[in-house]
């Protein structure tokens, strides 16, 4: 749990996995986790492929890891895959979540505020946390 929190707090980017009619697709996104770690917030342009994919199928995954492109990563790096459902953040919550997001990514302010930007959240149902290359623990979020 501590490893997961550390990963989600220290890493700026995650790899978002979506699909369209069985065709897999991944994209790098800036994200922030809510304090309870149950949601991962990210933003994307309205015309992107990932948004099109998510509009058709909201199921998605996000990989967050701390590798440094060294041989030792195989054992020293940790990774967490979040699996869940993506939805757009409604007006009521937008201000609060935007503040959280911009505290981590201040340089993305104009991007987030652009009219063509959609602010999304991945509601996580399970995290799969991998350490030491192959040690895998699942953290299921109780409904």
């Amino acid at each position: 749990m501590q490893i997961l929190r550390e990963l989600l707090e220290t890493q700026l980017l995650g790899v978002l996995g979506t699909q369209h009619e069985g065709e897999p697709y991944t994209s790098l996104v800036g994200f922030v986790a809510t304090p309870d770690l149950k949601q991962l917030l990210f933003a994307t342009g309205r015309s992107t492929r990932k948004l099109a994919n998510l509009s058709a199928d909201s199921r998605a995954s996000m990989l967050v890891d701390n590798r440094g492109n060294r041989a030792s990563d195989f054992t020293e790096a940790s990774a967490a895959t979040a699996v869940g459902v993506v939805e757009e953040i409604g007006v009521a919550e937008r201000a609060e979540f935007e503040e959280l997001f911009l505290a981590k990514h201040p340089h993305l302010e104009s991007f987030v505020h652009s009219p063509s930007c959609v602010f999304l959240r991945l509601r996580v149902s399970v995290y799969m946390v991998v350490t030491r290359f192959q040690h895998v623990i699942e953290l299921h979020i109780e409904p």
Binding site: D36, F74, E138, L139, E142
Partner: protein, 724 residues
């Protein structure tokens, strides 16, 4: 890039290129002090080798399986063994082979070599790590020299070095090792000298032996010791060893032998020699600006300095177990002596003591006498546990010595292949399991007997006699401080369960042990075949004793439990139910003071789980300890009862496979164990039955639950968990 350099090409600032030992040798050489004609294979060569063979990722993976704090000594052995095997099997880059061949044709032609380590930081910065890395003497020819070089490189990652990884600054990305290539100076007398005596810095300590000093350095031969006054060279003290021996080269192998009688009574150094050694250590101290710890030899009347490093505080005895751990690494001679002692003195003595303790009729003792008897048995048990750690565990090193030798010769893909040659004689627990299966097969074939046992009745006279014989021979086994076969109802349940299935694993038939042994011996060069045979014999004895000593120890534990159980029985209704059999003190106190009120123990509280999350294991990493893949339902063993609930085809999950619980192993489809290492009992017994086995899984018993579906991957050391 020049990969091999001579002392003349080295300056004081070359530490990062050639390591501290070589820099020191070059400085001595420049000062006109006699040192061997040393060549150095630089650190660039190591880097070229590991880079080309992709070994950094291998090391990183091996070291990263689990945190060091969680690793037992046996696991460290395994990690080092696997890394070493990868080094041995990796090809040496052509550029290195060419340079080495040229050197062996040139400066070092006709020489038998000493091949040693020289790591940056190894002998400096306030800490000396003498003996952590391997060295080889008597090496000749390109092939053997390359083997020795790979051995020295791999020894950067020995278990001994890994223990001191923080102090040594060992790091996968940046650690490297240079290699010293020297003509072996076969001195008639050799030794070491400390520029500052550990007890009085005004004194200099000198130790000396006849022959090579390797015997002194690895502790096989006891030296003569002198304390000398630094200024006057006066001998303050001289201690002679009980027996003077010497180490010499016989063929390629350093061998310990007795001295001719005219030398045996004469110290290896006279006054003039002592003065010369004293002067050399003082000169070296002045040269390096501090007292030196120096190795030297006297050859053809000339004193030659083999190496010099700063005297530092000992790296052992820091209140941790590292000193004990280092003591596990022993020479062949030392282990042969130890084997003799264990086989012919210690195990028989343990047996005698167990028999003597077992002859006491507990029922006839008064409560006070029984309390005394519990304490007596417990003291005997504790004493033997100590012997176990001091003498029995170190003997396991014999298995490893053989393994290293075998891997050097055969370069096998599976670093544990050598184990196949060790199980030439049956293990006690395999014998017990065979007897158990014999009983079970009678139950399997006889429906009436099955019915009677299920109904809690006795079998026929013949069967009951066989059960009694079994209990007589093995009935005193204990697990988790409870005796295994004392309850007939449990034994019946086990036999019925075994009788229900024919899926009982049999010990693997090994018709090829002798063939394999012969193939191995044939692959050994002739001048080392004698050593190979001795190591194989030692390895086999170590392997067998690793099993037997546990069983003998368990017999003593069972005797303690007998006495405690008798205490419990007598305390009866007045006794607090919460007490465990291991609460010896409380039982003896209560026997002596019947009115004592005992506070119940507080149950252990596990770690809190963060709210809103449920943690489930998916894949747990341990050490591969028995090759194969098996899938089955988990049976987590916490007490004796769990053992008797074991069903054929389940996966045995436990804290540590105790020799006394191995009767369920033949029914298992895999073994998962928290304790790690391939020399531990679980791994040995799983290999014996050809079962997949993963050891050293830190969360095995806490994360896995009964009923989980487990896949045990004994090749990779991974356990995959599926929970519905």
């Amino acid at each position: 890039m020049k990969l091999i350099v001579g002392l003349d090409e080295i300056t004081d600032t070359d530490g990062r290129r050639v390591g501290g030992k070589v820099v020191a040798l070059a400085a001595l050489h420049r000062a006109g002090i006699a040192v061997p004609a040393t060549r150095c294979l630089t650190i660039e060569a190591y880097e070229l080798f590991v880079e080309q063979a992709g070994l950094r990722a291998v090391i990183s993976q091996e070291l990263g399986r689990k945190s060091f704090a969680d690793m037992r000594w046996e696991e460290l052995w395994d990690v080092a063994l696997r890394i070493r095997n990868r080094f041995i099997r990796a090809p040496v880059p052509e550029a290195i082979v060419e340079d080495l061949s040229a050197t062996l044709r040139g400066e070092l032609a006709q020489s038998r070599l000493a091949v040693r380590s020289s790591a940056p930081g190894e002998d400096s910065e306030g800490a000396s790590f003498a003996g952590l890395h391997d060295s080889f003497v008597g090496v000749r020819g390109v092939g053997r020299t390359l083997d020795a070089i790979r051995g020295v490189w791999a020894s950067l990652w020995t278990d001994r070095a890994l223990l001191y990884r923080r102090e040594l600054g060992i790091d996968v990305e940046s650690s490297a090792m240079a290699v010293i290539l020297q003509p072996l100076v076969e001195g008639s007398r050799s030794g070491i000298a400390f520029g500052a005596h550990p007890s009085d810095p005004e004194l200099v300590a000198v130790e000396a032996v006849y022959g090579l000093n390797q015997g002194l350095v690895d502790g096989t031969i006891q030296p003569d010791r002198w304390s000398l006054d630094r200024r006057s060279a006066r001998v303050v003290e001289h201690l002679a060893p009980p027996e003077r021996l010497r180490m010499v080269l016989r063929g390629a192998e350093p061998t310990v032998e007795k001295l001719p009688s005219e030398q045996a009574d004469v110290p290896p150094l006279d006054e003039a020699n002592l003065g010369e050694v004293l002067q050399a250590v003082i000169t070296a101290g002045e040269l390096f600006g501090g007292p030196q710890d120096m190795e030297w030899t006297l050859a053809d009347g000339q004193l030659v300095l083999l190496q010099s490093r700063p005297v530092t505080t000992s790296t052992s005895g820091q209140g941790d177990k590292r000193a004990w751990y280092l003591s596990l690494t022993r020479s062949v001679q030392n282990l042969l002596d130890l084997r003799d002692r264990v086989e012919h003195e210690l195990l028989p003595a343990m047996d005698r003591e167990a028999t003597q303790l077992g002859s006491v009729d507990l029922g006839s003792l008064s409560s006070g006498e029984l309390a005394k008897e519990i304490e007596r048995r417990s003291r005997a048990h504790d004493r033997w546990v100590e012997v176990y750690s001091q003498d029995f565990i170190p003997l396991a090193h014999g298995i490893r010595l053989f393994g290293q030798f075998y891997n050097n010769v055969m370069e096998p893909e599976d670093p544990y292949e050598f184990m196949e040659l060790l199980a030439a004689t049956p293990l006690l627990s395999v014998h017990r399991n065979r007897e158990l299966e014999r009983l079970a097969s009678r139950v399997r074939k006889d429906p009436e007997l099955r019915r009677r046992l299920a109904a809690g009745e006795q079998g026929d006279t013949d069967f009951e006699r066989a059960v009694e014989d079994f209990k007589q021979e093995f009935g005193d086994a204990a697990y988790a401080s409870q005796k295994c076969f004392s309850e007939r109802v449990q034994l019946n349940r086990l036999l019925l369960s075994m009788a229900e299935t024919t899926a009982i694993a049999l010990p693997r038939s090994k018709p090829d042990v002798e063939e394999r042994s012969a193939a191995f011996l044939a692959a050994v060069e002739e001048d080392r075949r004698d050593l190979a045979e001795r190591l194989l014999d030692l390895g086999r004895a170590s392997y067998r004793l690793r099993d037997d000593d546990n069983i003998h120890l368990a017999r003593l534990e069972a005797l303690v439990l007998d006495a405690v159980s008798e205490g419990h029985r007598r305390l009866g209704g007045t006794w607090h139910e919460d007490l465990q059999p291991s609460d010896l003190d409380r039982v003896t106190q209560a026997l002596r003071h019947p009115n004592l009120v005992v506070e119940p123990k507080q149950p252990d509280v596990g770690p809190a789980i963060e709210q809103g999350f449920q943690a489930l294991p998916r894949q747990l990493v341990g050490q591969p300890a028995g090759p194969g893949i098996g899938t089955g339902t988990a049976r987590v063993i916490e007490d004796v009862e769990d053992l008797f609930r074991f069903q054929a085809g389940e996966v045995l999950v436990c804290d540590a496979v105790d020799p006394n619980m191995t009767f369920v192993v033949p029914m298992a489809c895999g073994v998962v164990e928290r304790r790690g290492g391939m020399l531990i009992h679980g791994a040995i017994i799983a290999r014996e039955y050809g079962l997949p086995c993963v050891t050293g899984v830190p969360d095995a018993t806490s994360m896995v639950e009964n009923g989980d579906s487990l896949t045990v991957d004994g090749y990779l050391g991974i356990v995959t968990v599926v929970r519905d």
